[in-house]
């Protein structure tokens, strides 16, 4: 079976600066795949290239056997890819509920949207308590939950998560990562970008290591955890 997402040698530039120098990887349906790497390795750029916020100059991206390389961002959402941006980015003046509705912008099936709002409330009970509160008043962890929940409202086949661990207390971290596992168990494929390598490898099936715009290593999470390079560079094991 062809992979759900296939990224073939994409090169993405910011002006003249080449941020991705030919990144290739794939995500199979049902997997959790993580991209790890240090600052500036090109993790976020990769996600933005997939979602259409940036367009690669070379290479191609296939989703569900369909080329999406040069589609506009909103068309890609319609195809079934949702992204949770780095640093949360909720609509701070809107309520939690309205944020969720905004996530369902591409959909027109009202009753199903209602059902999905209930579903994400089940996944994140905290959000239900905060349903009428404006999102700007939520705590960091709650905002992260909301950002994930909002992305789920588009009913994505593939969920992209950009550094969900950023700025979260350790105890919240674990619960967020449990949520991610649960979302995956319910049938959504997940592509996770993380600096917290340990946590990322703990929940991912497979992983890719990005270094200065190139995939330098890939493999099953277990292999990566045991690889000397990953241990040295990202896990801090001497």
């Amino acid at each position: 079976m062809a992979p759900l997402l296939q990224v073939n040698g994409i090169k993405t530039y910011y002006g003249n600066i080449c941020a991705l120098k030919g990144v290739t990887f794939e995500v199979n349906a049902g997997e959790i795949v993580c991209l790890i790497g240090s600052n500036g390795a090109g993790k976020t750029t990769t996600l933005k290239s997939i979602t259409g916020l940036l367009h690669p100059q070379e290479g191609s991206i296939f989703f569900n056997n369909e080329e999406i390389t040069l589609l506009d961002a909103h068309r890609i959402v319609e195809k079934g890819i949702s992204m949770v941006p780095e640093g949360r980015h909720v609509f701070s003046k809107l309520t939690t509920l309205e944020n969720l509705e905004m996530g369902a912008f591409t959909r027109k099936d009202r009753t199903a949207i209602q059902q999905d709002i209930e579903n994400v409330f089940q996944l994140f009970p905290r959000l239900k308590e905060r349903a009428k509160q404006s999102a700007g008043t939520l705590s960091g962890g709650e905002q992260q939950m909301l950002a994930i929940a909002r992305a789920l409202m588009a009913k994505p086949k593939l969920l992209l998560l950009d550094e969900p661990s950023m700025g979260l207390a350790p105890i919240l971290l674990e619960s967020i990562f449990d949520n991610i596992k649960e979302i995956n168990a319910q049938g959504t494929t997940v592509l996770l970008v993380e600096q917290n390598t340990k946590l990322a490898l703990a929940i991912a099936d497979r992983g890719y290591v990005l270094q200065t715009g190139l995939v330098s290593l890939s493999g099953m999470s277990k292999e990566l955890r045991e690889s000397e390079m990953v241990q040295k560079t990202y896990l801090g094991v001497a």
Partner: protein, 340 residues
């Protein structure tokens, strides 16, 4: 203590949102009805403020709703006015009926608005402001220098008096009512748009453009739409101005006008339609009302503006709180759910 404060602000809000607009409407509507000294002057002053309400509503779509900073709104106003002048005056010897002219003026302005919007889709904030500022000046310079078509700084005079359904609206009172009828219509329509899917898309765009895109909103489409709608309203305003005034000159559309309209909506409370009315009354009518103070009036006016912005930095009527806050059940309310 805290509770009491909240109560008063709530009362305050309700007062500002319902009683005040009602009061203002009554005053506006009754001015032409009763005879009092200098009535015609008042009709002219308040009518002029009415025109600025229309312009303010147009700019509100750009700045307040779609979050697109526009410093060149006078351009659309000018396009509307000159369209009217071309199509209803001895200048080209064309005399179309007013209602046709005003529609063409709006459509033409909307067309130009969407065209100017396309190349600047990627610009945000201040940069967009600079581009629109330049655009406004270009339009004025064209009007000034395309003398063969626009008659340059001589302007166009003897513009036809508006005749609607056989009724001659050159009578100040009729035209006054026409302006405020249009204001009411625009308020109604804008309200509908704001609470529609389009309004939601604008809201998301204005809050966070990237996330809006990632939520599947075609930001380009909604930006162009916002620019077209705002420009359309500006065009209507221009046509009204031209036929009311009877003559127009390029200097009627200089940068000051754009800034004034922007002040109207900022003073009124960015993003609130009712605020535009208060803003226009304060900003446009007040200098005339203060005429008694002769030379000092602009000083007093400026001081009032400063005091006002210190006391209510969000404007007279801040943007409405989201509707959901009234829904107390905590569960999604099916009626207000996702407009599609």
């Amino acid at each position: 203590m805290k509770n009491k404060n909240r109560l008063t602000t709530k009362l305050d809000q309700r007062l500002l949102r319902t009683v005040l607009p009602a009061l203002i409407s009554v005053i506006i509507l009754s001015i032409p009805l009763f005879n009092f000294p200098q009535q015609n002057l008042w009709i002219r002053i308040i009518g002029y403020a009415g025109l600025y309400i229309i312009l303010g509503l147009g700019l509100l779509v750009h700045v307040g709703l779609a979050g697109m900073f526009d410093l060149g709104f006078a351009a659309f106003y000018a396009i509307g006015a000159y369209t009217c002048a071309f199509l209803a005056s001895p200048h080209f010897n064309i005399h179309l009926p007013f209602l046709v002219v005003i529609l063409i003026a709006g459509v033409l302005a909307a067309l130009v608005g969407s065209l100017i919007c396309i190349p600047v889709l990627k610009l945000r904030g201040d940069y967009l402001g600079i581009v629109t500022l330049g655009f406004g000046e270009i339009v004025r310079m064209l009007l000034m220098n395309l003398t063969d078509i626009t008659n340059g700084s001589q302007g166009i005079i003897q513009i036809d008096k508006p005749i609607i359904l056989g009724l001659n609206f050159s009578n100040g009172k009729y035209f006054y009512y026409f302006i405020f009828a249009l204001v009411a219509l625009l308020l109604f329509l804008l309200n509908r748009v704001i609470n529609s899917r389009t309004g939601r898309a604008w809201l998301a765009m204005r809050e966070d453009e990237d996330v809006a895109q990632m939520s599947g909103i075609d930001t380009s489409k909604y930006k162009i739409l916002a620019f077209a709608i705002g420009a359309f309203i500006g065009g209507l305003g221009g046509a009204i101005f031209a036929s009311w005034q009877g003559s127009i000159f390029p200097d009627n559309f200089n940068m000051n006008v754009s800034i004034n309209i922007l002040c109207v909506i900022i003073l009124g409370g960015l993003g609130n339609q009712m605020g535009v009315i208060l803003g226009a009354m304060a900003l446009i009518a007040l200098p005339d009302i203060l005429r008694g103070f002769s030379d000092y009036r602009m000083i007093i006016f400026g001081l009032l503006l400063i005091i006002m912005m210190i006391l209510r930095p969000q404007g007279f009527l801040p943007r409405k709180a989201p509707k959901f806050e009234e829904n107390s059940s905590g569960l999604p309310d099916t009626k207000k759910e996702v407009q599609s």
